[in-house]
Structures are given as structure tokens and as C-alpha cells.
């Protein structure tokens, strides 16, 4: 009896070994750590051309190195890389996947499948759309602050939410959620190679707008800022305004913003009420007047509110007319607050969205004027 008990305990213990899922012994130094990869259209009969940036440990300090490979699917391309490199590519630290415009125009869902399905790449990868000719050209640039170009791109995108707010920070799982949702269309950050005096550089450049999973256009960085206001994602950044059109500009730094989007249903008609509340500080004042007075600040606030209202209204109009794709997520908002109305109109949303009426109100408060209470007096 005792032997039987012991045997069954052992059997149970070892049967657990069969249920451990996917793991394997592999030494760190036998892996090539991938920091990011770019997907272009294939050239030699293959569908995809992958440019993979990995960490080259043979150099000190380690730097990024590019490996180019082709394949009929993404995974096929990744595996074909083994014909060129002894070390297996390791995707757990991959931060960025850059997709070329051409691929994006044909649809992203097939491209995202392997990245989302495989166990190594994380769902927090940042997909980026390259506005240039190829996706690879972004990774071919020299990083300015990081060792690896892909890390530079990834960190720039995630940093931008708190201090720039001119590029959407969309991670792979969020992109997949947007793709799956009927009431929100996909947006992704866009980037390009910019010429500057010292040479070429990578630069984030607004938003790529999608209809379903196909790229249909772009928003520039300023428009992206107002898009983020509507999506309640403008956590930082600046608002530049001039209360007096003749005078120089005043810069407000966003300390926090809260946007409420509420649908108002009247019969068969829905109106979106967008209320933007922004807390700012007066961060730069190039004008000759002293605006740090109760009346002066009111004036600045008023001027910014006006700017916000017109810009946001203009952006909505532009998206409705030009793209007709609900990148603001108005459909999901209606679904949340008026599910009955949504159920009735869900099927017609694509034709209803361009006709949707929106009213925008903005409230801006200036809470302080940083460390100065007046501007520099020129004697």
C-alpha cells in the first residue's frame, strides 16, 4: 500500500513535467537579441523583406547590426535568417516593428499575426509606419542617444506621451484591440527620415490613419495633438498661442488634461459632446505685455480655449470628410453610453460617422507661471 502511494505521488509529480508548456535550455550568449525589425515588400520572389536589428556583442560597447532576410511569411523570413547567422534570433526584447507604407496599404492583420501569436515578441511592441520609401531606412539611421536604433524609436514613442503628445503611443495589443473594434479605427505612429544640417535622422511624424487594417492617410504632428486631446491621451506637451495676433507667442505647458466625450441622442440623431479640460502653466512669454495678471491670464486662457475649439472641430471635420474612419472611437463611446442606439445603428456606422455632429468646449486653466511672475523687463 505504501509503495503504491509513493509510486502514485511520484507519477503525479513527474506527469507535471509534461504540462509545462514551452521552455527550453538555451544559453544567453547563443541568442541574438533583436531590438526591432522592419517589414518591407520582398524582392526576390518572396513576399516580405525583413530588416532585423540585433545586438552585436562582438563589439565593445555593443552596437546594433542589421540582418536582412526574406520570406513568404514573417516567421518564414525570421527562420531564413538562420541561414545567415549562427545565433538564433531572440524576440523578447524587441521594442519596435516598422512597417512600410506599401505593406500597410495592403493590410496589417496578416503582418501582426505572427508577432501577436508567437511566445517571444511581447504584445507591448510598438508598431510604427514608415512614411519613407522603405521601412528599413528608419533602422538604417544612426541612433542619437541609444546604442540601438530600434530602442531609440521605441523609447522616443513611449516618452512622447508625457512631454510631446504629438504622436500616438500605440502598442501591439492596443492596435489589435482597435482592429477588432467596430467603433474605433486603427491609428499608429508614423515616422520618417528627416534631413537636417548634420545629416539624416529618424523623426516621428504624426499619425497613420487606417480604415479597417489598411492605411488610408496621415495626420501631421499638430493634428495628432488634437486627436490625442479627443482620445484623452494628451498628458503633456505644449500649447502655443498668441492672444494678440500682432504680438509674439505665449507657450503653455500642459500639466494634465481631462476630456469627456459624451453622446447625446435625440431620436435618430446622435451628437458628440466633447469637453476638454486642460491644466497648464505659463512656460514661456515672448510678448512685450505682462500677462501674469488676473485679467491677462484670463485673456490667454480664452485665446487658448478658442484655438483648441476651432482646431479640434477642424480636425474632426477633416477626418470625417477626408478619411471617413472613426479614429476617435466615437462609435465605442456611443456603445458605452447608449447601447440601444448603437445596436440599431452599428451596421450603418461607416456612413453615419462622416455625418456625426460634434460640439467642442474647452476649459483651460493656467495654474502658475513657473518661476517668474513677470517677463523680462527691457530697460
Amino acid at each position: 500500500m505504501k509503495t503504491l502511494k509513493r509510486f502514485s505521488v511520484l507519477l503525479l509529480a513527474f506527469s507535471l513535467l509534461l504540462m509545462t508548456g514551452c521552455w527550453n535550455y538555451r544559453e544567453l550568449d547563443n541568442l541574438s537579441m533583436v531590438s526591432g525589425f522592419a517589414i518591407d515588400k520582398g524582392t526576390q520572389g518572396f513576399k516580405y523583406h525583413l530588416t532585423i536589428e540585433f545586438l552585436d556583442l562582438s563589439k565593445s560597447p555593443p552596437a546594433g547590426k542589421l540582418l536582412e532576410t526574406e520570406g513568404d511569411t514573417i516567421f518564414d523570413g525570421v527562420r531564413n535568417a538562420l541561414a545567415k547567422s549562427q545565433k538564433k534570433l531572440f524576440f523578447s526584447d524587441c521594442k519596435v516593428v516598422v512597417v512600410s507604407q506599401d505593406i500597410a496599404k495592403e493590410g496589417l492583420a496578416p503582418v501582426f499575426d505572427w508577432i501577436s501569436r508567437d511566445s517571444e515578441p511581447r504584445v507591448t511592441i510598438n508598431p510604427v509606419i514608415s512614411k519613407g520609401k522603405t521601412a528599413a531606412e528608419l533602422l538604417q539611421q544612426k541612433p542619437i542617444t541609444d546604442q540601438l536604433m530600434a530602442m531609440e524609436i521605441g523609447k522616443t514613442i513611449s516618452q512622447s506621451t508625457t512631454a510631446l503628445s504629438e504622436v500616438p503611443n500605440v502598442e501591439l495589443y492596443q492596435a489589435n484591440n482597435m482592429l477588432a473594434s467596430e467603433g474605433t479605427s486603427l491609428i499608429l505612429p508614423a515616422a520618417k527620415v528627416a534631413e537636417s544640417q548634420s545629416g539624416k535622422n529618424f523623426e516621428l511624424d504624426g499619425t497613420a490613419v487606417f480604415e479597417k487594417d489598411k492605411l488610408i492617410g496621415y495626420l501631421n504632428r499638430e493634428e495628432t495633438k488634437y486627436l490625442l486631446f479627443i482620445k484623452n491621451q494628451a498628458a503633456g506637451g505644449l500649447l502655443v498661442t498668441s492672444p494678440d495676433p500682432e504680438d509674439a507667442a505665449i507657450t503653455l505647458e500642459i500639466f494634465g488634461s481631462q476630456t469627456s466625450v459624451m453622446p447625446e441622442i435625440k431620436g435618430d440623431e446622435a451628437t458628440m459632446k466633447i469637453d476638454v479640460n486642460v491644466k497648464t502653466s505659463l512656460a514661456e512669454d515672448q510678448t512685450a505685455k505682462d500677462y501674469v495678471t488676473p485679467d491677462g491670464l484670463k485673456k490667454v486662457e480664452k485665446s487658448v480655449e478658442n484655438t483648441l475649439q476651432t482646431k479640434i472641430t477642424g480636425l474632426i471635420k477633416k477626418v470625417q470628410e477626408q478619411y471617413g474612419s472613426d479614429i476617435f472611437g466615437f462609435g465605442d463611446t456611443i456603445n458605452r453610453y447608449a447601447p440601444d442606439y448603437w445596436k440599431k445603428n452599428q451596421s450603418k456606422w461607416e456612413e453615419n460617422f462622416p455625418k456625426l455632429k460634434c460640439t467642442v468646449t474647452a476649459h483651460v486653466t493656467i495654474e502658475n507661471s513657473a518661476t517668474a511672475n513677470t517677463n523680462i523687463k527691457v530697460g
Binding site: Y25, R26, L57, D93, K95
Partner: protein, 502 residues
């Protein structure tokens, strides 16, 4: 227990006779070839008929007592008339000795001679006197090297049982402290003493201890561990189920908690039972310093056990199975450090851990003045040179360093830590985190399954009642620890504070 084991050297001796020369011959035959036996025959200055002979073991007696308090009075003794019962008169009136026993038993006489007593034969009498002249040199009391404290009593046990008992008795001045002698070793006849507080002790534990002490015989006991391995629970487990200490204050504290202590002659180590797992982490100093600091120390020690058993296994599991769990920058620096290292991570880990254990062991065993050489070899050759020669990677040195240092933090559980560390490392190197968790669960199951003299060693973890939990990870202030743990003692009132509890 082996007071009269059949294996002993005692046999049937001839009976003593009234003739002194016969008795002398008899003793000399028993101690044939024993050069330390001293025979001294003398007679009274005034009555040449009063012939005496004393036997003692050289080096075991106090010569001054022997000369001045035994031989001198005998030489100067002048009976006024013929004494009818000389032996009794000697014992009662003549000899200056605190312990005199009249006997005819050869067994007792031989034991006496062996253990520092002096045996006096008188011509014309078949009885012998056993006189207490014990006086051998013992080590003076000093602070135990293994259990140093910054604050608190510095006295440590010595090799002499009586000295040790006196240290305990000095601290507990109530008759409830009971000390029972027992003898171990059929050949060494080593004396031991069981100490307990009569009104606090858990009688089940005491009975169990007595039962187990009677369950074996052994020819000799040189240290309490000889006994420990016979009486302990879970004999194959690396986890201690019997406590060991060299400090009288620790023994007294345990007695006051209702535990039983066993002291053995010839060793400065005392055993205490029952021994719970948490006692590995309780230092006597915890109770002598501020409770905040002692709690911090206690928590650090508990963490150190976890760290020293788990860190190499976790490192190997993370770097060879679950690289995705490491932050990117850490992966970069580890894989950079591993460039060019010829061995797999687990070989590296085992190699360095073994080297560390070697350094530790040689540090403990070698003469003190060679310490400098060891630290140079340890730090420079094994550490720096091995890294720059690319035999091991730098992170591994850090891991082994952390493991070693935290292992030394809880020296009482050292043995168990080492065994657990290598077991977990082996499992982690084959199965990754799964193996580590498997090993950890087995360790937990093992800990929760064993008990010490009927008390589960993890009692302090799953006990009910706030009082029992005030001395585990956190040492509560003394005025809060009002009760003894109820699994240790039936009499739980320890502290009472005037005006109710604070």
C-alpha cells in the same frame, strides 16, 4: 542506558580483604599497564600499625587537597585508644574532605580512581574510602566564537559539566529547575544532565526525550551530536530538529519557554528540545537589543535564508530558460559578460559555489594567521582573475558572493542551506523555474511535515492566537510578549504588567 552494558570493561572482581597488601595487589592488577595510577603507602607518625595506602589517577586530582587535607591529617592522627571502627572515625573525624564514601564495591572504587577521586585503604579493613579530590585543569570560560553578540552576556559553556550547570543554576534560582544526571557511553561513562523547569516543561516532550535517550547504547560520546543523531526526529533531514547552543543564557531562555536542555560532560554544547524552524533565525541578541532593530535583523535573516538557497537557482533559471523575464538592459549586460565564457551557466554556478564552500571551509579550519593569504587568494585569484581570464562571468561572481554572504548570515542553518541550494540549482538547471518551484514546494512540504519531539517545527507559522506570533519574524517588545507559546508549555503566563496590558 548503558550504565551496566554487557559490553563494558567491568567484570567480576575479587572481593576486598582485610589485608592491605592484598588490596593493593588487587587494585594494581585491575590497573595493570596503567602508568597514571599512583600508589602511595604511608603510616601514622605515632602508630606504625596504622597503615594506609591511597590510589589516584595522576593529573586528575588536586594535589594540594590530597596533601593537606587527606595525607596530613592521617599522618598526624594519633588515636587515644584502640579505635573499634577506625574507618568510620576516619570518615567522620579525621579527613578534611567534602565528600567521603565508605564502600566495598570494586566497581565504585575503580570508577572513583578513574574520575579523579582518591581511594584510601586502611590495613585491617575490607572497606575503602572514596574521597573527592577531583581537580583537573579545564579551559576558562570565554565567549563562544560561534555565537558572538554585540550586547548581552559573554559567558560561554566550557567542557566541564559542573561548571556549565553552575552557569545555569546561577541564572535560575528556584527549586523548580530540575537537573537530572544520566550516564552515556558504555566505555566512556560520560555524565550528562537533563535540565528543565518542572512547572513549565511540556511533560510529553520530557517523557519522549527520556524514552529516546534510553533507546540506544554507544561505546563513547565525545560531543552532544553523538546523542543528537540518535534522538532526533527526521534523522536524514538536513533541517535541525534539536537545538544546539554554547551559551548558558540561551539555554536558560529556552528552559523558561518550557523546553528541555541536555548538557554533556566534555563538550561546551548543550542540546535543547523541541527545536522549531524559527529558532534558526532567532538570535539571543534579539532579546537584548531594541525590538525594532531585532525585528529588522530577524527579517533580514529570514530573507538571507531565502536568498542563499534560491539566488543561484533563480539566476540559472532566468538566464538559461526565461530570458524574456529579464529587463532588456540586464539581458544586454549579462550576455556581454558571458561572451567568451567556455562553460554553460550552470557549470559556472556549481564551480563557483564549490570554490566558495572550499574557501569558507578552509577559512574555518586553518590557523588564524593564514587568513590574509586566504583572502588574497579568494578575492584576487578566484574573483578578479577568473573573470578577466574569462573562466567565469562577472555576474556569476556577484551571485555567488550574495549567496555566500547571506548564507553566512544564518550560520545555524548553514548545512541545510547548502544542501537546499545545490538541490534547487540542479532542478532549476534542468527544468528552469518549474524545477525551482518544484524543489521549493518539496522543501516546504518537508518543513511542514517534520516535528521535533511531537511539536511540528513550523508550529510558529500556523499557530493560532496573537501571543504565539509575537516572536517570529517580528520580535515584539517584552511587555507585549505576555504568554509563552502554548505548544511549548502548558503554563503560559510569562509577563504580567501592572494595570493591565499596555
Amino acid at each position: 542506558m548503558g550504565t551496566a552494558g554487557s559490553d563494558g570493561s567491568q567484570g567480576n572482581y575479587a572481593a576486598l580483604t582485610k589485608k592491605l597488601t592484598d588490596n593493593i595487589e588487587l587494585i594494581k592488577t585491575v590497573f595493570k599497564n596503567d602508568s597514571t595510577l599512583v600508589t602511595r603507602s604511608f603510616e601514622s607518625q605515632f602508630e606504625p600499625n596504622l597503615k594506609y595506602c591511597i590510589f589516584y589517577s595522576d593529573g586528575m586530582v588536586n594535589n594540594k587537597i590530597l596533601n593537606e587535607d587527606i595525607i596530613k591529617p592521617l599522618l598526624e592522627y594519633r588515636p587515644e585508644k584502640k579505635e573499634s571502627d577506625l574507618i568510620n572515625a576516619l570518615a567522620k573525624q579525621i579527613i578534611f574532605s567534602n565528600s567521603v564514601e565508605i564502600t566495598t564495591e570494586m566497581e565504585k572504587i575503580i570508577q572513583g580512581i578513574i574520575y579523579g577521586d582518591t581511594v584510601l585503604f586502611t590495613d585491617g579493613y575490607a572497606e575503602a574510602l572514596i574521597l573527592n579530590t577531583k581537580g583537573w585543569s579545564i579551559r576558562s570560560t570565554s565567549e563562544p566564537e560561534n555565537e558572538k553578540v554585540l550586547k548581552g552576556p559573554r559567558e560561554g559553556f566550557t567542557e566541564a559539566l559542573l561548571t556549565n550547570l553552575s552557569m545555569i543554576r546561577r541564572r535560575i534560582r528556584t527549586p523548580e529547575l530540575k537537573m537530572e544526571y544520566q550516564t552515556f557511553g558504555t566505555r566512556t561513562k560520560t555524565q550528562a544532565c537533563i535540565c528543565y523547569m518542572e512547572d513549565l516543561v511540556n511533560t510529553d516532550v520530557l517523557e519522549e526525550l527520556r524514552k529516546r535517550l534510553e533507546s540506544f547504547t554507544i561505546d563513547g560520546v565525545l560531543d552532544v551530536n553523538y546523542i543528537n543523531e540518535f534522538i532526533r526526529d527526521a534523522p536524514y533531514s538536513p533541517i535541525k530538529t534539536v537545538g544546539e547552543t554554547e551559551r548558558p543564557d540561551v539555554v536558560v531562555a529556552k528552559l523558561l519557554e518550557g523546553r528541555v536542555a541536555l548538557l554533556l560532560d566534555g563538550t561546551p554544547v548543550a542540546l535543547t528540545v523541541p527545536h522549531l524552524f524559527i529558532e534558526h533565525f532567532q538570535s539571543d541578541e534579539d532579546y537584548y537589543i531594541n525590538f525594532y532593530f531585532s525585528s529588522i535583523g530577524r527579517i533580514l535573516r529570514l530573507m538571507a535564508f531565502f536568498v542563499s538557497t534560491s539566488v543561484p537557482a533563480l539566476y540559472v533559471a532566468l538566464t538559461t530558460f526565461h530570458q524574456e523575464m529579464l529587463p532588456t538592459s540586464l539581458v544586454i549586460s549579462i550576455s556581454m559578460a558571458r561572451q567568451g565564457v567556455p562553460f554553460p551557466t550552470v557549470v559556472e554556478a556549481v564551480l563557483m559555489l564549490v570554490v566558495f564552500e572550499m574557501l569558507r571551509e578552509s577559512g574555518a579550519r586553518m590557523p588564524g594567521m593564514m587568513g590574509q593569504a586566504l583572502s588574497i587568494v579568494g578575492a584576487l585569484v578566484v574573483g578578479q582573475a577568473a573573470v578577466s581570464a574569462k573562466i567565469v562571468s562577472a555576474p556569476m561572481i556577484i551571485i555567488v558572493g550574495i549567496t555566500g554572504i547571506s548564507g553566512l548570515m544564518v550560520p545555524r542553518i548553514k548545512g541545510a542551506s547548502i544542501v537546499t541550494r545545490f538541490a534547487l540549482l540542479g532542478l532549476a538547471s534542468i527544468f528552469g523555474f518549474y524545477g525551482y518551484m518544484f524543489g521549493f514546494l518539496v522543501l516546504m512540504m518537508h518543513l511542514f511535515s517534520i516535528s521535533s519531539f511531537g511539536i511540528p517545527i513550523m508550529s510558529s507559522v500556523y499557530t493560532n492566537g496573537a501571543q504565539d506570533r509575537k516572536d517570529i519574524a517580528i520580535r515584539a517588545p517584552w511587555w507585549k510578549m505576555q504568554k509563552r507559546p502554548k505548544y511549548l508549555s502548558p503554563n503560559t503566563t510569562r509577563v504580567s504588567v501592572k494595570g493591565g496590558s499596555k
